[in-house]
Symmetry: C2
Subunit: 381 residues, 2 copies
């Protein structure tokens, strides 16, 4: 490929929020980033050549954030081809080496349709998942099978109770891996059996999504075992098993994909540096193919703000090339009592994930789930 | 497995540095973490059962950091079995959900030999790599083939110049992926050919380590292609392709593994939250099997301090079960002029990575590399 075949319009944009003393400092920093993320050489050392202008990051705009004299939004464009259209290198171009700087936060991705068409995104998305489940007019209800260390029998009983109580989506707690006290295969088999049986008895259409967190060389086996045993969805934490693993499984497997945020907090704990939840758990998880993206709700034990949560929900649902919209799923410190507020905040196209609070609500999961569903119905009329 | 077969001594410890108002607040936070990282339920809701005490995280110690009334080191132990002895779930236990809190920094891992024996760690390590290269009495010299967008012919010429100049280790710049202007296979083939030929002509034993950053389902093919064409090492960024991918490749392939820190900066940019470079790029990368761990040197364009860099080097080289010691490789803003200072700081068991500054040193890579090697020899006598 030569510069002639690298169409100059084939560029996407990344907005970096820079903390700097003034506009000049911000501009110098943005120049550094544009080079660091591509040629990784000072401009004076880049060999002359046809590809130079196409390959280098280019500053498109720098402007002070309104009302904040120390923050500047720098928009840098990169040529599509720098990513090879592959997720690991795409993330490398966004933030690979610059993650090791400071005072640099990715707040927005502008990915043109021509770039996005290389990615499948969510297989079901909001509309497809509603159709699959036959639930159209209300938020979906999710819980997590827990605790780690519980017996498979107890986990399966909990699963059945949730399904009989009218719940929609069951996922493993993300710490349920392949431990000897509840090995992956036996656990998945028994929990899916319990869900299938309770569905048959109750007429529910609930799905069970086991956590896929095996080793690189175990993932395919876990996935095939789950598919062979009627599993309809997977829970995947991209930070634990690799970002591209989620993309691959979403493309290959006809299942619902739930993205889990485990280990992702380091990207957004620093207000001045990293990647915002809206970009990481929103745009990027959606690009990877999440049908549902779990995040920690505001007002609970985690520090995300309401604005963070709403920005993230917007990134999951707003138009994004031809990629289907994805369900936001606030979790963590949620409770049955808060369902009304949550419906008001997030709207109907949301998956509410309540786990600990359902266990605390009553000793019987079916009873707890009925209370959860009653609230959802009550506030969805 | 029951509580009787989960030996109570089979626990490893994690030290979390907590920022809190006082000891009581720190203790409550530590209790939250011990639960969050395992059963993920309030203590009152955990079903009674044989496994409860074994599965829950346990606070072993909390003490104020000397001279800092707002910082506390909390040591929490976890049972080996909670990890299933698998990397993704091990990382999940360390920091999965707690990554989404704040004011919590992992500063140390204490992994007993009985736990570490489940991992191979570095295949070569410092001693093995020295033996492989026949270089015993000096630091090793490394450079990066760059820039992204350069022609394969130019990259191969640069590689040959480095080898003829006496350099030891060539790696791809980490942005060289599978872009159409230098596709993975052709680039790897030509660069390895250039290195092999220059080795044969000069009597050098240099190795070439291409960047392995393909998709989940491409990695094996890239690796087999490289191995079939005499490649002796791989450059891998665990954050880009998945932590366990490095573990798997280090175990499966008889090659030198270089760990790259791309995207890792978010773990240590926040002074109060995350995972220190010593734990992440030191202990964890070594556990994954890195023979060489690249990090950003102090005093350059990146914000790591000299103390960070020395702690990290110590974590790579100090006793760690039966895992072999790993070479620290400071990089970023290094130059030929600084070699003396670097040898003094890091000692001989170090891989010095200079890339941009070699290109700037002279228009001829062989000449630049000779100057680099002369300095290394001069300061290693």
């Amino acid at each position: 490929m030569t510069a002639e075949t690298m169409h100059p319009a084939d560029r996407f944009c990344v907005v970096y929020r820079i903390t700097a003393a003034d506009h000049a400092e911000a501009k110098n920093f943005a120049k550094d980033v544009a080079l660091e993320q591509t040629v990784e050489l000072p401009e004076s050392s880049i060999p002359a050549g046809l590809l130079r202008d196409a390959v280098m990051g280019q500053i498109m705009d720098i402007r002070q954030v309104e009302g904040d004299s120390r923050r500047f939004d720098a928009t840098i464009s990169y040529h599509f081809e720098t990513t090879g259209y592959k997720i690991p290198q795409f993330l490398n171009v966004l933030f690979g080496n610059s993650s090791m700087r400071n005072n640099l936060k990715i707040t927005k991705l502008s990915l043109p349709d021509e770039f996005l068409k290389h990615f499948q995104g969510p297989r079901y998305g909001i509309e497809g998942l509603r159709k699959k489940m036959g639930v159209y007019d209300r938020p979906l209800a999710c819980t997590a099978l827990k605790p780690m260390g519980g017996s498979i029998k107890d986990l399966a009983r909990m699963a059945a109770g949730f399904v009989r109580g009218g719940g929609d989506i069951l996922k493993d707690d993300h710490g349920l891996a392949d431990q000897s006290y509840h090995p992956f295969k036996e656990r998945v088999l028994r929990c899916q059996e319990a869900v299938s049986q309770a569905n048959a008895e109750s007429g529910n259409t609930a799905i069970y999504c086991p956590m896929i967190s095996g080793q690189f060389d175990e993932i395919e086996e876990q996935v095939h075992f789950a598919l062979d045993n009627d599993v309809q969805g997977f829970l995947i934490a991209p930070l634990l098993v690799g970002f591209d693993t989620m993309r691959y499984l979403a493309e290959q497997c006809k299942v619902v994909i739930i993205g889990h945020p485990a280990l992702s907090g380091v990207f957004y704990s620093n207000p001045d540096h990293g990647i915002t939840p809206a970009v990481l758990l929103g745009s990027i998880y959606r690009l990877l193919g999440a049908d549902i993206s779990i995040f920690v709700n505001y007002g609970g034990r985690f520090p995300l703000t309401k604005a963070d949560c709403l920005d993230l929900s917007e990134a999951l649902r707003a138009p994004f090339g031809k990629l289907r919209p994805c369900f936001p799923s606030p979790a963590g410190g949620m409770s049955v009592d808060k369902v009304g507020e949550m419906v008001q905040t997030y709207g109907k196209d949301t998956v509410f994930l309540i786990s600990g609070a359902l266990i605390q609500y009553s000793p019987d999961m079916e009873t707890s789930t009925r209370a959860f569903m009653d609230k959802i119905h009550q506030y969805s009329e």
